[in-house]
Symmetry: none
Amino acid sequence: MAEKNLTLQLDFHSGFPIYTQIVNQIQSQLANGILKPGDQLPTVRALASELRVNFNTVARAYRILDEARIISTQQGRGTYIIEIPPPEVTEKLRQDSLSELTKRYVGEAFRLGFSEREVSQMVKDTLKSWKDAKQVKDEE
Amino acid sequence: MAEKNLTLQLDFHSGFPIYTQIVNQIQSQLANGILKPGDQLPTVRALASELRVNFNTVARAYRILDEARIISTQQGRGTYIIEIPPPEVTEKLRQDSLSELTKRYVGEAFRLGFSEREVSQMVKDTLKSWKDAKQVKDEE
DNA sequence: CTACAATACATACAATGATACAATTAGTAC
DNA sequence: GTACTAATTGTATCATTGTATGTATTGTAG
């Protein structure tokens, strides 16, 4: 499961952007079981070389897939199909997962000796600064 | 003497560099007494093996901590928590560690698609129920 | 034609990994 | 104890991988 050859077929005259074609075909191959969770995708440069396009174009496709939680790109390491492909989770499962995540966080914070007040305040501050940071670079 | 197992939790798709996560978590554990002055940290290779990362990544984290006068790295000997931690930075370390922990939590929650409101509410609820319920479970 | 947006590319950068090296320690033979 | 060798530890350097930012090209509306 080292390296998938990822035979993609690009059509340069179809009118569809290359990065879109890459995105769609990877999604398709995942849906059809050609790609499986945990599989490592070619590096942006390797795939770009094979497809005869600029590696930034591949990187753009990977970035879209990453934001869609389909793959996980890790600088300096590589790109992988995400382990737990996000299925259609129900709202209950959604809440449960947040609850679990929060319990782990609060438990860890208390284990480290922080007070309820400290935790509460830090969450508030972090949420605020996170939102501020997002507003700067978000344009969607 | 004191050989710490150093249970660190890395998140490879959090967006935060691995070496930064290592730095922050060691700071955190020192600030909260899990690590103590004089303690020997795992070798760069041992910790790297446990975390499934390259040992240079651990070395980079150690180097940063060394430059911050938090640990002492000695070629051929090992790395140790510095004997006399500057007291004026203790509280800062504590705050930094909570900040880092919180950032990881919030980042993960957002990555899973939860809103600021949901996160805020869940933290509030979790803190409340935590206080209400006596912890029956022992320390882990 | 001009203006604008989208796309693809070029370049510099940051994070991680691989490899060879230097310093120290621990044995081991004498 | 000394001298030698091997193992262990951190260090230095470069390669590999993805990221960030700017630029050129293309298509299209006005």
